[in-house]
Symmetry: C2
Subunit: 292 residues, 2 copies
């Protein structure tokens, strides 16, 4: 069994990105510039955005944080999105989700110019991904594919079972791994809450992507010998072991499942560290105008 | 075994559409108007477009056919697309594919205003479909779902195996049938050229959507007793039995498979007749501004 070290891979990619930015700037190119809009003071959102800003600094991007109070009107927010769409200095930007209930997230997402949509949530990017065209792929699916690639995991003809059909993980990762590509070319099964006898599918899987958000859902007897297991779950559960009083639990009962696997990601330290890196990579692609 | 009669269902829906148009016009509403651009004189395209125009007449739509010779420039074609985008009288329009090699089909598709893209090929429509939002669904996948619905076929929790991953059938129908919806909520497997042992998957399937374009690929021993089989294949094969010298073959070895099925579509007369009807329905939705 080999542990997939998302933290190490993320650090390696961070170094690669920083080196590329250094070269771009050294040859007179423009330093990539990411903007983030943060509405309100949700604890999780504050942490994520702070981490994104910090990572921008580490790879040499310029970053701009734009804050609004939670009572900002939808119209005001959309106007700011339009302003960023037309600001030539901004290569890409994100609006940190979730947004307050009085603002339509989908409307905000669809107002972002898809050419600056480095979160990859705009329908043009989702649609181009489904068709197999170059696009901004959203952070978690992109991070999962990058881990498969960096560990040279064979995917062609493999049976990949995706647990969960969320718009941000299950569906896009399923769409990506069925494409004629590497990583990809998988026979692809998507299981979810309506699936009868999930074990029947997971026991047949060469690759399992667990993204149900159900702590320790995947047990040892649900996995065949030699499988690759990618755990996308990150549920906070109360814990007496940590200072914070909680710990992150994945969707995989790690201790039972790991001994059966050829490769497995831990939680934390697997897919998690890859997500911000995927956002950084999209921002670099936006800066270089590689896709659009 | 019950035969799914696509021809009869298409005729029924055509009558429903005609009745709705009659009511719209009777109450002072605008008659839906579909435009089609046809480039060159490809035999298949001529037939399809003529059939679309005829169906428009039958349901009471206005239709406009715009013809170009095969040597039209991409710029000229794109300019016409832009003109149609801004023509308030045109509710929806299509550019008949394939296009001559010197014209980028993807560029043409992405130039169409997605709100008039009744073929459902624009990335915004593909992306919104993948996310589960209202959109124009392309004709063949929409026709398949409509057949499942009209025959009240249970899909929730069923294992649906899609054979083929084309952008116009396999991928969209897979995306639709995994959504939280009816028809939908399937455990969804996509098989394709790289799949090892396709029979293993099809034998487990409650619903099989065969869209490989490989005549009589699906044999009797690949299907479990009671399965629902939807045959999307339409390969022309030489035949001494018909005047035209060819006949349409589906992806299913009908004589072997049918006796095992609970429901099955024939070829021809199954999915085929539904496709133009789906286009008509999208045009009506565009006329009523139901989606956008």
């Amino acid at each position: 069994m080999q542990l997939i070290d998302g933290k190490a891979i993320a650090a390696q990619i961070k170094a690669e990105l920083a080196e590329e930015v250094r070269q771009i700037v050294a040859t007179g190119g423009k330093r990539p510039h990411l903007a983030a809009i943060l509405v309100g003071h949700d604890g999780g959102s504050e942490t994520y955005v702070a981490s994104k800003v910090r990572t921008c600094e580490e790879v040499g991007f310029q970053s701009t944080l734009i804050r609004y109070e939670a009572d900002v009107s939808e119209a005001e927010l959309l106007a700011e999105v339009e302003r960023l769409n037309h600001d030539d200095d901004i290569d890409g930007f994100i609006v940190q989700l979730p947004l307050p209930k009085h603002i339509s997230e989908q409307k905000v997402i669809e107002t972002i110019d898809y050419r600056k949509d480095v979160d990859g949530f705009h329908p043009v990017n989702v649609g181009r991904m489904a068709i197999g065209l170059p696009c901004f792929v959203s952070a978690t699916p992109a991070g999962i594919l990058e881990l498969l690639k960096r560990y040279h995991i064979e995917t062609s003809g493999k049976h990949c079972v995706v647990l969960g059909r969320s718009n941000i993980v299950g569906k896009p990762v399923a769409n990506l791994l069925m494409q004629k590509a590497y990583p990809g070319d998988c026979t692809l099964t998507v299981c979810h809450s309506r699936t009868k006898d999930i074990k029947k599918y997971t026991r047949d899987a060469d690759i399992i992507i667990a993204a149900l958000g159900s702590p320790e859902f995947l047990k040892g007897d649900m996995v065949k010998e030699g499988a690759v297991v990618i755990d996308v779950g990150t549920t906070r559960v109360a814990s007496a072991e940590t200072k914070s009083g909680f710990k992150l639990k994945g969707d995989v009962a790690f201790d039972e499942v790991a001994p059966r696997c050829s490769f497995i990601t831990p939680v934390p330290g697997g897919v998690g560290p890859m997500t911000i890196i995927s956002l950084m990579r999209n921002t670099l692609l936006a800066g270089k105008k590689t896709i659009y």
